[in-house]
Amino acid sequence: MTAPGIESPPGIHSSPGIESPPAPAVLVRGLRKAYGPMEALCGLDLRLEPGVFLTIFGPNGAGKTTLMKVLATLTRPTEGTALVGGKDVVRDAPAVRKRVGVISHNTYLYAQLTAIENLEFYARMYRVQAGRERALALLAKMDLTRRMNDRVATYSRGMQQRLSVARALLHDPELLLLDEPYTGLDQHASRMLAEVLEGLRDGSRTVIMTTHNLQEGLAGCDRAAILVEGQFVFDQGVSEIDASGFQETYFACVHEEVLQT
């Protein structure tokens, strides 16, 4: 399986009278991240157009979380560049943080604070205008209004995850990073999360999701990629993928990489 690496943006062609194509939402070139002697990302390239929902699959240790951390500015690349909305993650980190929302298996919620207190706190940190109103609106959207004055410690995992989604959306980010968001959720909570994520697919936001879950991951996305040992070994638009055979494709990719080392 060869790695196409950079995919040409679908449907964009230059014509007279039309302006240059919009800047990609995410542009990564030659990204390397090493933790001591271990390389988590080995020269990664990625170009993602605005509004696209990309799902990245890969085994543990493939580098999925590392990639998310670089894009979220939580960690700096050892080499290479990463641009989010045209801003460099190292040089313009605050500008990138304003545009990025993160949902992961960590909820980033303060257990002793109530839902509304958590949201108001983050609204203040993101300098969201009319923070309280926005928080209330998001609580309503996530169907948490009834319990908004309860401490997060009393929430079920599924509710915490929904609140975490609300937290990520407070500042209306252009790019959403979902790092294995289904971890630890039961069937019911998973379905609710899937519905919420489906609701986010209105084309106004770019989304990158990493997951182990082949079924759910493939169902909701525009583009699928497989990351193994710090490099992309598969990257295609979902219309070109045979969903039923995807599992075999995935195992073939992972297995082959494992054979190489």
Partner: protein, 239 residues
């Protein structure tokens, strides 16, 4: 071997030989040539090792750590972190020597093992600070995170030392009876022996630093080469 590293190997060998010779010279000076101190006797000769050790500890060793820590935070180059770590290790050794020779020398002469004299007390606090630095390095894993955290500690620790000295000096001025000093008159031949010893110890510090940091540099180079090899290996495997 590349010509650059050959030159470096020769220079290092030369440094070791010169240092060895100077140390020998200093030993002879201190133990034989310098005159016997009138009241204290031969035990005073320990001073020729105690004082230069203290000088290395309070002076260059940790100042180098401070400077390299700033350099690391400013540039991110790991070589500064490696040399800072090496300097701290050597500094702790010299500090330990100072703290051990002090009481050995003080007991026969002043009858007490320890005095809360500013320099000695500061050296003790210094010992704790830099042992803490080494402890931090040992639990922090490797790589840039350890470098950053130790750099912060190296900077804060060094700034604290003069303040510690000042506070103990002030303390001593307020309670002079209790805290004795380290004084004695030195004739010119003793001064000579001391100067030679100082030079020898300083050169010893430099040599140890170069040797130790040099080993760390080589180890880092090996690790980097191994990583490159793994990358090429992967790429060559039909992707």
């Amino acid at each position: 071997m590349k010509s650059g590293s050959k030159r470096r190997a020769y220079a290092t060998s030369a440094l070791v030989i010169v240092t060895f010779a100077l140390i020998l010279f200093a030993l002879v000076e201190a133990l034989v040539i310098a005159p016997r101190e009138a009241t204290m006797g031969d035990i005073q000769r320990l001073f020729y090792f105690h004082m230069p050790s203290a000088w290395i500890a309070l002076g260059p060793a940790f100042t180098v750590v401070f400077g390299l820590s700033i350099a690391y935070l400013a540039t991110g180059k790991m070589v500064y972190d490696r040399w800072a770590g090496a300097s701290a290790e050597i500094g702790v050794i010299f500090t330990t020597i100072t703290l051990m020779t002090g009481p050995i020398w003080a007991k026969p002469i002043w009858g007490v093992y320890w005095t809360w004299e500013p320099r000695l007390t500061t050296t003790l606090v210094l010992w704790f600070i830099y042992v803490g630095y080494l402890l931090l390095r040992s639990i922090a894993g490797e790589g840039p995170r350890r470098a950053r955290l130790s750099a912060v500690y190296g900077i804060v620790g060094w700034i604290d030392v003069p303040i510690v000295f000042l506070s103990i000096w002030l303390w001593r001025t307020v309670h002079p009876r209790l805290l004795t000093g380290h004084g004695f008159d030195m004739d010119s031949r003793m001064v000579t022996a001391l100067m030679i010893s100082l030079a020898a110890f300083t050169l010893l510090y430099v040599t140890l630093l170069v040797l130790r940091a040099g080993t760390l540099d080589i180890a880092a180079e090996v690790t980097a080469l191994q990583a490159r090899l793994r990358r090429l290996d992967r790429r060559g495997g039909g992707r």
